[in-house]
């Protein structure tokens, strides 16, 4: 019954389900092509403008093709704080990932496998914190951090990012652990492993794909975080990309060509990275919610 239904189709002369007539097929292709163009255009445009040598080229883009150059990229890499920002971004995103995923993994496992008093409450709290508007935390965080001297420090930003990453990753990993058969845990226990030993030696290695997705999500979220980074980072050599790119406008007199080049340099590696794992991210994102 669960085998592919299309194999039973040949007895019917007309086309199989899901196969389109010629008109519908052309219509589908046209719609999808237009949608793809809309999806691609802003990025393509950014790429195109980044090749224009003059800062006003975006106003008469027709001229760019004739004088396209990589000078903007060279300028950005040699004359701006690009590498400082890269370093900051990596420290913040990497730190958030490491810290967030590590603490989320054990929680995800405990919530998935063990029923203990407070289990449901914890799940609720995890879900609820995902709905927190940044406006609720940003003011008290700022006040607390300025007392502790954590404003303008990467460590402070890592802590702040963890408020969103940790609950989310716990949910995501709980969903993943749920897919690993409990018989494995039982076998581990039989062999004399403690619950923590089972988790560490048996489950964690099996959950590697789930951990990878959580890590990726944590990294990307911290990478692109705007609100806290704009508020808590003051020194421009400590900026992350999300803040650095903004500062371009004032510092370089709205040199859109340089900004476009910077944006492209930032976007390309992340985009490639993202493409590689996007399917797993969707599964993880919705699986957590469906089971709630």
């Amino acid at each position: 019954m669960t085998s592919s239904p299309s194999t039973s189709a040949p007895r019917k002369p007309q086309r199989r389900r899901g196969e389109l007539g010629p008109v519908a097929r052309v219509g589908t292709h046209v719609t999808l092509s237009v949608a793809s163009m809309i999806a691609l255009f802003p990025i393509f445009w950014l790429l195109y403008l980044s090749l224009g040598p003059d800062k006003d080229d975006y106003l008469h883009p027709g001229g760019i093709a004739a004088k396209a150059t990589l000078d903007n990229y060279w300028f950005v890499l040699t004359n701006t704080a690009f590498f400082d920002w890269l370093w900051s971004t990596m420290v913040v995103a990497g730190g958030t990932t490491l810290f967030g995923v590590m603490s989320a993994a054990t929680t995800g496992y405990a919530v998935s496998r063990m029923r203990f008093p407070g289990n449901r409450t914890l799940m609720w709290v995890l879900l609820l914190t995902q709905a927190f508007p940044i406006a609720v935390l940003i003011v008290p965080m700022y006040e607390i951090f300025s007392r502790l001297g954590l404003v303008d420090s990467h460590f402070g930003l890592i802590l702040v990012n963890c408020t969103t990453i940790v609950p989310y990753c716990s949910w995501l990993l709980k969903g993943y652990f749920d897919t690993i058969p409990i018989e494995l845990d039982e076998a581990g226990m039989m062999d004399g492993l403690t619950p923590f030993g089972t988790f560490w030696r048996l489950i964690l290695p099996l959950a590697r794909p789930g951990l990878a997705v959580a890590a990726f999500y944590a990294f990307i979220t911290a990478f692109a975080e705007v609100a806290f980074a704009s508020t808590f980072l003051l020194d421009d050599s400590k900026y992350t990309f999300a803040v650095g790119l903004q500062s371009f406008i004032s510092e370089h007199d709205a040199q859109w060509n340089l900004m476009a080049a910077t944006a492209v340099l930032i976007a390309i590696p992340v985009t490639i990275f993202f493409y590689l794992v996007q399917r797993h991210v969707v599964t993880g994102l919705t699986a957590g919610g469906v089971k709630g």
């Binding site: 999808l32 999806a39 950014l46 603490s103 003011v139 408020t163 705007v226 999300a242 996007q278 919610g289």
Partner: protein
């Protein structure tokens, strides 16, 4: 018989699925709780310190008149102690029914609701349309899918800059509109167009996620259902209405809830698109940020009070949403 007799201590996670054996009961010991608590401790501590304490602190701030002039601060080597005082619920009263309540809170509230509803409807409808097109046997569907998720793959702060360049007065969008003889609105200055631009950009950013999630949902619907409906003579619309939509309901309810929460809290797009320039296009989140960090003196108490109100709105919405889902499930 003995197998079906429920053990009283069957408090295990799998108790719903399996009858507990003696091994399971053995694990129901104090020791197991101990391990569970040790494992959740890091997250509980992290959340307690990083969310719980600031939240309590933030709530306290809303009951004071704290701003950047009377908070504790350091000037050079001198540390000045905080001098703000407790004023009770005055901040909330001022926001909700003070003299400037309409101008500051309610107008933003209405716009936030309009923004959220419009964006989520657009996300869902466009996302579902594209997902259904992609869910057919079609040459190149993998390629289309990869192209269509691009807006999701690129970090928001990059794409919003791309849009800013495109939406500028003499940018490519107005040039194109001009060549086909349409009006060239000033997207980034005129309030109505600012709002339109914000919705446009957010829709562009949000559709890929909806599309991918709904595509996953569509693929999990049993094809036999469609075949059966077709044999019974159901029209395409009837099949959509009675097979596709119910088949998607669990995915839909999740992504719509996530969509509402994310859109309601969407900070980056409006903040990066307009900076500090567009008072009318600010939603409550960006407005709260602006009160606390985008003006001098910084009004910490008011900003925090907005934050608490936002959270309250979301909690009310989520619980109604859950209740509504439950009721519908029972009816179905």
């Amino acid at each position: 018989m003995t197998l079906t007799a429920p053990a009283p201590a069957a408090e295990t996670p799998r108790s719903r699925r399996r009858a507990p054996g003696p091994f399971q009961r053995m694990r129901d010991s104090y020791l197991r709780y101990w391990y569970a608590y040790a494992m959740v401790a890091p997250v509980v501590i992290v959340l307690g310190v990083l969310v719980g304490y600031p939240l309590a602190r933030g709530f306290y701030l809303t009951l004071t008149d704290a701003n950047s002039l009377n908070s504790a601060r350091t000037i050079g080597v001198n540390t000045i102690d905080a001098t703000y005082k407790f004023i009770g619920l005055d901040n909330y009263a001022e926001i909700l029914w003070g003299p400037a309540a309409y101008d500051r809170f309610w107008s933003h509230f209405v716009w936030t609701i309009v923004w959220t509803v419009t964006c989520v409807v657009l996300h869902y409808v466009i996302g579902l349309g594209l997902a259904m097109l992609l869910n057919q046997r079609l040459r190149g569907r993998v390629a289309y899918r990869l192209l269509l998720i691009l807006p999701w793959a690129v970090p928001t702060f990059v794409t919003v800059f791309a849009w800013r360049i495109m939406l500028a007065d003499a940018g490519v969008i107005n040039t194109m509109l001009g060549t086909i003889g349409l009006a060239e609105p000033s997207w980034l200055e005129d309030p109505t167009w600012q709002r339109t631009a914000a919705i446009m950009v957010n829709t562009w950013c949000g559709v890929p996620f909806m599309m991918l999630s709904l595509l996953g949902g569509l693929q999990s619907i049993d094809e036999n259902l469609y075949e059966a409906a077709e044999i019974d003579g159901a029209s395409a619309w009837q099949r959509f209405r009675h097979v596709t939509l119910p088949g998607l309901s669990s995915v839909s309810s999740t992504v719509v809830l996530l969509g509402v929460i994310w859109t309601f809290n969407q900070f980056a797009i409006i903040f990066l698109l307009f900076g500090n320039t567009a008072p009318d296009a600010q939603i409550l989140v960006t407005w709260a940020y602006r009160l606390g960090f985008g003006q001098q003196p910084r009004d910490f108490a008011m900003s925090a009070a907005y934050g608490v109100l936002l959270l309250a709105i979301l909690i009310v919405f989520t619980s109604f949403y859950y209740r509504w889902l439950k009721r519908n499930d029972q009816l179905a």
